[in-house]
Amino acid sequence: MTDSPGLHFKTFLLILMIVVFAPLGNVLLGKGMKTVGPATHWALADLWSVFIRICSSGYIWLGVASLMTFFVAYMLVLTWADYSYVQPASSFSYAMVALLGYLLLGEVITPLRWLGIAMICLGVLIVGHTPPRTTAVKV
């Protein structure tokens, strides 16, 4: 494929969207579920009323919309960029979700947890930096 002008900018923009919208979606889901509250009994009637409250929560729908935006951006970028190029970028999502949880939800994140999250990012970065196709391709 020949590089069209603006290809790098387009790729950068979509990767930025991936790194922002996936964590934002999870943070919004977290916010929504804190308002809905946990199911007290795991009886069917109780679960049903929780389900209704989930469906009527604005934060949940915003979270779902944000995750859908992420998914579309992800699919789009994969139509031209290599998976092994895109996937390491998504490792930053784990740091981003902690950062957004701290900034938007006021979650307390201990230094130990930051260390764990940093290791997860590093691990995901290494996982992604390998050939994406190992199965034989039929010719």
Binding site: V97, G101, G116, G123, V127, T135
Partner: protein, 124 residues
């Protein structure tokens, strides 16, 4: 206990769902035609593959387990722990999709597992 169970469901059902969808996609084959009419035909084709529906069902279960976990647990705890899906994905890819996993990828998976362990420890 309830929490542990939910985290297991998120990781196992989520990864299982992705593996099933991957299997369905491999069955359909590589997409080379991106015209809208071809994409609609592609979507219709995915809907008749059984693995696709099993995958969608598992992903739905994982999504509601995630919501349940988020109702009483911090986002900065739950989401990093779900990174265990990289380990589950690697094991599943070997057993279920017959992919070969490179040494370097296993190292990455091990580091992810170590990071998740630290995040789990940070709770107490």
């Amino acid at each position: 206990m309830r929490e542990f169970l939910l985290l297991c469901v998120i990781v196992v059902a989520g990864t299982g769902g992705e593996l099933c969808v991957t299997r369905a996609m491999k069955q359909i084959g590589e997409v080379t035609d991106f015209r809208p009419s071809a994409l609609i035909r592609f979507i219709l084709k995915t809907l008749v593959v059984a693995w696709m529906w099993i995958g969608i069902a598992m992903m739905t279960i994982a999504f509601f387990a995630l919501l349940a976990a988020l109702s009483f647990e911090n986002v900065s705890f739950v989401v990093p722990v779900t990174a265990l899906s990289y380990a589950a994905g690697a094991v599943g890819a070997v057993l279920f999709l017959r992919e070969r996993i490179s040494f370097q990828r296993w190292i990455g998976v091990l580091i992810v597992c170590a990071g998740v362990t630290i995040v789990l420890l940070s709770k107490h």
